[in-house]
Symmetry: D4
Subunit: 212 residues, 8 copies
């Protein structure tokens, strides 16, 4: 009978629309942390489809309190059992400029905003005034911006932060990768293929022949 096929299709659609109420996890039980950068096609890079994963994206793809909150919900309430962290090359969060000269950051922000910033009065989170920076407010504010030095190091560091956090269960599997915007592919951190291929020296030092 045709009605059986129609009923089945209606049910399939309802299961999709009521996933959270029916406590259905995403298809791959996967939480992804990556950068908001417009050059990171994260679904394509990981080979995931709509419906497959919770995808968290912020500036840098770094662990923040919002990441902890979102990952804890995904893994505890919504059934995820795997986390993948993806940082990327040429990230806007890498800047020697601000790093060596940290007070430039406020000046630069002030330049773009067109007015003075006082870290003491800026609401970090306007809907949660209970959230505050303590200690040396100026330095804490600069830290809060979360510039970093090295995308491979940053990737490994985020994995560690998540592995050790008390709100993430120990049986959640966590891995990190670096997305290369220049080649459009993922790599393991610090395993840059481009470093091993340009000169005889590199091929000798890092390749397979060197082991003979």
């Amino acid at each position: 009978y045709t009605f059986e096929k129609v009923n089945s299709e209606i049910s399939r659609r309802e299961d999709w629309a009521l996933r959270r109420q029916k406590e259905l996890p995403n298809n791959r039980r996967l939480f992804v942390l990556t950068c908001m950068d417009e050059r990171v096609p994260i679904e394509k890079a990981l080979g995931v489809q709509v419906g497959d994963a919770h995808i968290y994206r912020n500036a840098g793809g770094v662990v923040t309190d919002d990441v902890i909150r979102s990952a804890a919900l995904s893994c505890n309430f919504f059934g995820s059992h795997e986390i993948i962290v993806v940082t990327h090359t040429e990230c806007g969060m890498m800047s020697h400029f601000f790093h060596t000269d940290p007070d430039m950051i406020l000046k630069y922000l002030e330049f773009h905003l067109g007015r003075k910033i006082d870290p003491a009065t800026v609401p970090l989170d306007p809907s949660l005034p209970e959230l505050e920076l303590k200690g040396d407010l100026y330095n804490s504010f600069v830290k809060w911006i979360r510039m970093f030095d090295d995308t491979d190091k940053a990737c490994l560091a985020q994995v560690e932060l998540l592995r050790n956090h008390p709100l993430i269960r120990k049986d959640v599997v966590i891995h990190g990768y670096v997305y290369e915007v220049e080649s459009g592919t993922l790599r393991f951190p610090y395993h840059r293929v481009a470093d091993k291929v340009d000169t005889a020296e590199e091929m000798f030092a890092k390749g397979v022949w060197s082991n003979r």
Copy 2:
């Protein structure tokens, strides 16, 4: 000459790979805030492509300090001049259960984690210990989870929080939409087409004929 075409292609690729160093904005100068939910194909819903927008996603698509940080960077350093907020229906952040009975939240987390949680010792952000909740720690922690009641109300609220934040310039254009997972389309908040079409009463009350 063929080399001219080759040079041009190499330059085009380098511009893509060095966008941040060359201070090139994303194609649409757009920052998007939405939920990490696996059923929200945000690029398709907005009609944007890889390269077009910075896409921030967290649990709920709600404003947090991480959103403020990321949006401030996108709009001040990276050239964005538009923000779009998209919440969605059947979001996992809507729960009457926790709302009416807030202390259930810790119990439920503890149930899934398999151990006790002490809000006083949980590091909100493991890489930024300077970030703390103040006041009634238990209630602040529950607020920090950021459950909400109504996705349309939540959408409008996030837009307001961004419009009024001192780190977002006033000339940034900000709009909010609700993505319906049940129909796979966007709506204006509180303009639910499905409410206007099932009965004569609804058609009379909300439609065009009622104005005659």
Copy 3:
């Protein structure tokens, strides 16, 4: 031999062209009743192809004497053993306006026609003058227009009318659905997914969690 393949193809085509003479039923032995509305792609919604079903369409998708006649022929002479009724949202037959103020209907018709209508002289069916309305002619004429209030209620009512009619065999299987023009999908009557997903209240009241 090639002629065998040619003969087989000619026979297949003849079976198609002489289906009624050879007393072959439609492929799914299905009779469908739905509205004539231009937004209802009934074949796609039910997943049926050319050749699969008898498709009856009128204003509203409601049972009339013509429906009884057509369904009786389909199920008794032409071999159908299943009926599916599909009404739809935002149907032009739903109008509070005419409902509360029934004499407006003739006035409105007269306005569009540009002349007076006298129910006593209008031939209901110009090829069958034996067909007449009896009783209070004015009210019967308004009833004959068949406005309705609620598309889900209308759907269920048509199913009942067909289930109980003496010209439809009891072993014909009958189901009803509502097609949502706003989402482009079918639903079970009164099972509107869009009602369960916008607020925590709705999710609590109707979803799965409410049962715990």
Copy 4:
């Protein structure tokens, strides 16, 4: 700005979903009357798409009171200004058998139903008991089944019935075609190409050369 494109798309979808409330006609302002037969792909035959036309289908594609009701609503309330009638070859409504021997119809129906039928007690329209056959009930009931002799004649007859009905405005344009299930194409009534091509006689009698 991206929000402009998004708004425009939301509006376009709302116009579709609220067509009747906004009193928008179908795209071609067209009402089609055709048979419910599974071999008539009426949209393809006329070259119309979803959204283009109100499509009325019943057993035979013949004018009934339900057709008058639906066409009157389409042309007066919903803006249609054209009617196309399509009957088809090898229609199940053509039967010499019942025609020459009319009382066989009840016997045949009784045979399939497995019980006696009494025209006096069968509700023609179960939701509108005011609708009745008058005069010689037995013959009227047979007429109500609406068998016919000749599909080309039937097509022309339905066009005339609609042209002359007082509820259809005189400025509505009405045409009729016959759909050939054996060739999958439309023809003008009585202009059967297949009649002009098999013998020299036919070519002489009907073609162009005969005029020299």
Copy 5:
């Protein structure tokens, strides 16, 4: 090894190019006789591809001495064991005009040629002067044009001529079909589906119901 694949491909191509020298038959061992008419896509109608069949086409698709020659070569030297004859509707060879008034044919030819024709001096076959018409030269010449009356009759007649010819072996299988240019399909001779579907009379006379 790659050379094995290359050798195999070269051999396959040589087999194609040297089919006659290698005495390979066509793929289906089929000889087809049909008309040269531009509306007869003979390969598509029979479902044959390049390489499948010898295809003889002339004015009318009728048996001539050239057909006998070609079919005898195909079936005796080139391995064919099946013949299919296809005439078609609306063939230019059907003309009541010339048929009833045979001397018009020369006049008409002379009109188009712009000069007189003398059957006695026209070389029937300019490369084979030994080929001659005998008897009443004028009437023989008209017969040689090979007009015919009825495409179904002509089809059956050609099949018989081939079946009985001494140069065609008796184990060659021969069938005939009529291609309908009006419907784009083949039929068995005199089995015109279009004759059985327009009226109740036709359906009664020729269909299945008539046998009950």
Copy 6:
């Protein structure tokens, strides 16, 4: 109005089906003579479509009385004003064997037929007994088989035969080509590219450099 589009489509189809009665020529006003060989995709080789040309095919693609008849009808009655002759390489009509030893042909035919052939009693054309061979019957019969020596020579010869025949008007444009089954392309007769490319000698003798 939709009916205008429908009418136009019906007319277009009728023009196709009644081309001969309406005295419409084929699209390119072209008559093609080619071989029945299964490896000659004549439409593709000439770039013509269904509807474009009258296509005559026999064993060899050589002029016979049937060709004269068909070409005279195409050019005089059916409006063609161009003839293209295409012979092909590796044609089954080329055989040194029969040519040098002509009485082998009857023996070979007899071998395949399994019985004796008497040229005096074989009906050349079973439907036209008036057609006879005269003179030395045995040699005429062998000539009637129409073996040839050289496909390029044969091509040019057929063009001449057609150019000089009194039933073909002088303003008909006639060209000849050879189809190469080994390369799948056409050539001008005797302009074989493959002859000019294998050795320095050939390149010198036939190419462009030889003229310097």
Copy 7:
């Protein structure tokens, strides 16, 4: 887990990028020698893909010291065990002109260069001055240009040169083909299909029938 699929994809890409360091051979273990001519799509002709073969191309596709060097590396260091040589028709290296009149070559080069050439001072290989011609310098220089007479002979000759060279192992399988630019296909040397198909003589002399 998703990370497993990601790891596997990264490894696959690394294997590709580090093939030489990991001492992986090409996919087919194949070395190809062919001409640099723009009309030779060597990959398509051999049915090989990117990754399948080492492809050496020079003027003529002839063996030089560079070919010996490259083939020796491919077969000894990089794992190839098959060599395919492909010369082609209409090669620019075939010229009767220079061949019969060898001193024209320097004059012609001088004409294009616009200055005198002294074979004694031209560095044959600017990066390897140790490489020299000895003996009659003028004639050696002309030989070094490597014009040839016949592409089939040249093909076979190159195969022999490679088969007998001491730097190529004896278990390397070597074949030669000629690519026909006029037909776009490969042939075995001296097996030109085009030579066997144009006349009865050719078919008799070279085909299959000649053997009976």
Copy 8:
């Protein structure tokens, strides 16, 4: 007329097949020098098609006497006016191993060949015995293998060798690129994008911000 289109197509094909005899250059008047490596899809990398360029490939993509010969013919006789050199990363010609320890090369070759090699008796070019190495034969033989150290340096060096050679006209335009097998794209020599994107240090040192 159709014959005009056919003639034009035959001429177009003949121009292709007789390019060298008609002294037509390749489409882009381009000579390419690149490596024989199976991972270098040179046509795709440069955006050239069949017919566009002379493509020289050897082990390494380095200048040899064969390159000089081929380039001189392409640019002087065959009309090329542009040269592009493409070396690639992870080339098998880069080997620290052989470089630092040159006598290993003969040992390694001997190991694979399974026998001793005597540079004094190995014919460098078996068809041109006049070609010899002079001076220190052992070292010259090692140089002749042409290992190199650095693919970017090698690329620039080959461009210089070609620019300065007396057999290449000065108006030939010459450029060099490095193909990255790890990213599948071309780069300018020493302009490796992958070097500028992994750390803040790199972004500062090489990017655009460093110039402010």
